[in-house]
């Protein structure tokens, strides 16, 4: 098995405010192996984008990693300064496909200039070489090479997203963080973009952190994954393991809340309630209030990481993880009934 390229070890992240701090991420632990596509899935506001930002030092000014370790290629980066991030992490090692591609490209710079700028600050590439490289990448993402000197507003939304992917690949990073890369796009475009992202697996030696609220995207495109809820990691493991044997109630319910092409007739589940506001110390399971199987123990301490028996690296942060296969039998039924395409396809 490959070495982890990125590890989160019991990481807490807070945003300072004038009132109580917001505890956006609490005790998060997961690891991404080199070459893996890793999906991080959860509702909006659950802290997944905060995790993405913390990797590249992109937290807002008031955000801070208060405890735990973030290791990139074994190096602790949680306390890096801006210039250390610039030197050691940003873009050469880790690039980002941001959430809102439509607004992420500087409107007053030609795309070619933005590429040349990246080259200038991170490489020795000459200007023509940088432009050549951008042309290549435009080709890769399916854009016409002649368009490299256009301004962003001359591109459609899908084209901008492809240009952003090209930018993400520009310095051949070892990790790409794709934060909701397709949210703003229509369905057909979403599919195309995901195809490109998927296609990178074969031709590029790159790991991917795919952040999304759409669990099906993760199932379709990733090797391993984590499910997040209310600032806590609920469950992590390989996609197969989590899909087949989810052991955190949220992961179980979430699977049922999305339409699945494999089971088109299934009724969609609804998860009641909202994630809590995380103003006080998080010494409880943030899903307890919404969980049909909650018991007092859920509110008496942060849930421990519980290995799921029989799987490697499959953890669920639930005090009742061991009982879930019985408790949620109803919900898990269908997956025993029919074999998933995914599994069958492999």
């Amino acid at each position: 098995m490959a070495e982890p390229i990125l590890e989160f070890d019991d990481v807490d992240i807070r945003y300072r405010t004038d009132g109580d701090d917001v505890r956006a991420v609490n005790g998060a632990s997961f690891a991404i192996d080199e070459g893996d596509y890793f999906g991080l899935v959860g509702e909006s506001g659950c802290g997944k984008s905060t995790i993405a930002d913390s990797i590249v030092g992109g937290l807002d000014d008031n955000g801070e990693v208060v405890s735990g370790e973030i290791r990139f290629k074994g190096e602790q980066i949680q306390d890096y300064s801006e210039s250390e991030f610039n030197e050691n992490v940003r873009w050469k090692e880790v690039s980002v496909i941001p959430q809102s591609s439509m607004n992420s490209l500087d409107p007053v710079m030609k795309l070619s200039e933005q590429a040349v700028e990246m080259a200038k600050y991170h490489t020795d590439l000459s200007r023509p070489a940088a432009l050549d490289r951008l042309r290549e990448l435009f080709d890769v993402v399916g854009l016409s090479e002649s368009r490299i000197s256009d301004y962003p507003h001359q591109f459609s939304g899908g084209m901008q997203q492809r240009a952003i992917i090209a930018f993400a690949l520009f310095l051949q990073p070892s990790l790409i963080i794709a934060d909701e890369p397709t949210t703003a796009l229509d369905v057909i475009m979403q599919d195309q973009i995901m195809d490109y992202i998927n296609g990178l697996k074969d031709d590029w030696d790159v790991s991917m952190l795919l952040i999304t609220h759409d669990i099906s995207l993760v199932f379709e495109n990733c090797d391993s994954m984590a499910v997040m809820h209310g600032g806590q990691i609920a469950e992590t493991g390989t996609v197969d393991d989590v899909f087949d044997r989810p052991r955190h109630p949220y992961a179980i319910l979430l699977q049922n809340a999305f339409p699945d092409v494999r089971f088109p007739d299934r009724e969609l589940a609804v998860i009641d309630g909202h994630p809590p506001q995380l103003r006080d110390e998080v010494d409880f399971c943030t899903f307890a209030d919404r969980c049909p199987w909650a018991e007092p123990a859920c509110r008496e301490g942060a849930p421990p990481a519980t290995p799921v028996a029989g799987d490697d690296d499959h953890l669920a942060w639930c005090v009742r993880a061991g009982e879930m296969s019985e408790l949620a039998a109803n919900h898990l039924e269908r997956s025993t009934e029919s074999t998933s395409i995914l599994e069958g396809g492999q």
């Binding site: 992109g58 801006e82 610039n86 690039s95 809102s100 007053v108 600050y121 256009d150």
Partner: protein, 333 residues
């Protein structure tokens, strides 16, 4: 092609605007209460003399004839003669406009550059001490009447410290000495800069508020934009980010720049009088008091044309600063 069409259209609009302003000025001055000709009538003149004068100045003709004559004269660059001085308005106004321009253009430009940078820093240090004290300072300077600010500076730097002279552009003997030399020659004299310092500082302190506060707001707004976050994630150093922020945030400041330049012509009147700066301000005031309409009309026209042309140039500059406002607007390269 479309760039050319855009340019032609803007030029046409600009020309029409100038024409309208010129016409409005013509009417405005003739509809103003008080006899347009009253200046000509002096104590002790007999009616024949008055009539002769009215004819001489073309004031005997009906209004529409005067109007047509006025427009034709404008088109042939003949802006008339001063009632008061009897000499061509242009000869009277041009050197003064130059003197005012020498003061106001660099002062306002420097104000916008320095004020803009200061505002940008305030915006980047949101909530900090610098921002709070900066806002109070620039607002305080703007809330003092401009001429009084000048008097305070004179009291401190001339009367008390004796560093700078109180009045004029040069000492009178010097200005007479170099009067036959090219205009720029004075810029080589330390004396000029000593005379220049206080009025320059007055204009600057007084007008600092606009660029500083607008830039601050604009920077705060731009800093929250997604593309800046993206730039940051791409690993661009802070100085580069700041440059980009300033470029984006400067659009409203650039818009205001020519307006401030023009507005300062009127604001300058009192500053010029306080410092006895030989600019357009004092001529304008005395011409208004003396109802020297050809002069007033022309000065107003120059100010209006200045604003219109300034906006025209800003429109073009916008195209450079922000390609979304580009003249072509299509995606052809």
């Amino acid at each position: 092609m479309s760039r050319l069409r855009y340019f032609a259209r803007r030029t046409a609009v600009t020309a029409v605007l100038i024409f309208l302003v010129a016409s409005a000025l013509f009417l405005f001055f003739r509809l103003m209460p008080g006899d347009y000709t009253s200046l000509l009538i002096q104590q002790g003149m007999d009616p024949q003399q008055i009539e002769a004068l009215r004819r001489k100045w073309g004031l005997a003709a009906p209004l529409h004839v005067q109007y047509v004559r006025y427009i034709v004269n404008l088109l042939t660059a003949d802006v008339g003669q001063s009632f008061r001085y009897g000499e061509p308005v242009w000869d009277l106004v041009a050197p003064r406009i130059l003197n005012s321009f020498v003061l106001v253009a660099p002062a306002i430009t420097a104000t916008y550059i320095i004020g803009g940078l200061f505002g940008a820093i305030m915006g980047r240090r949101r909530g900090g001490y610098l921002e709070k004290s900066g806002i109070i300072t620039v607002s305080a300077f703007h809330s003092i009447p401009d001429f009084f600010l000048g008097i305070i500076l004179i009291a401190v730097f001339s009367s008390t410290l004796g560093i700078f002279p109180t009045s004029g552009m040069l000492s009178t003997p010097t200005s007479i000495m170099i009067q036959d030399q090219p205009y720029w020659r004075r810029f080589l004299l330390p004396e000029f800069w000593k005379h220049y310092a206080l009025p320059f500082a007055t204009v600057m302190l007084y007008f600092m508020q606009y660029p500083a506060l607008i830039m601050r707001n604009s920077v705060v707004e731009v800093s929250d934009q997604e593309f800046l976050h993206y730039h940051r994630l791409k690993g661009l150093p802070e100085s580069t980010l700041l440059r980009k922020i300033i470029r984006h945030a400067s659009l409203p400041v650039v818009t205001l720049y020519p307006i401030s330049l023009a507005a300062s012509i009127s604001g300058l009147v009192l500053i010029e009088i306080v410092f006895n700066w030989p600019g357009i301000g004092s001529l304008l005031v005395s011409s208004v008091l003396a109802r020297d309409f050809p002069v007033i009309q022309f000065v107003f026209l120059v100010a209006a044309v200045w604003v219109i042309l300034g906006n025209f140039l800003v429109d073009l500059l916008y195209g450079v600063l922000d390609p979304r406002v580009s003249v072509s607007g299509s995606d052809g390269e």
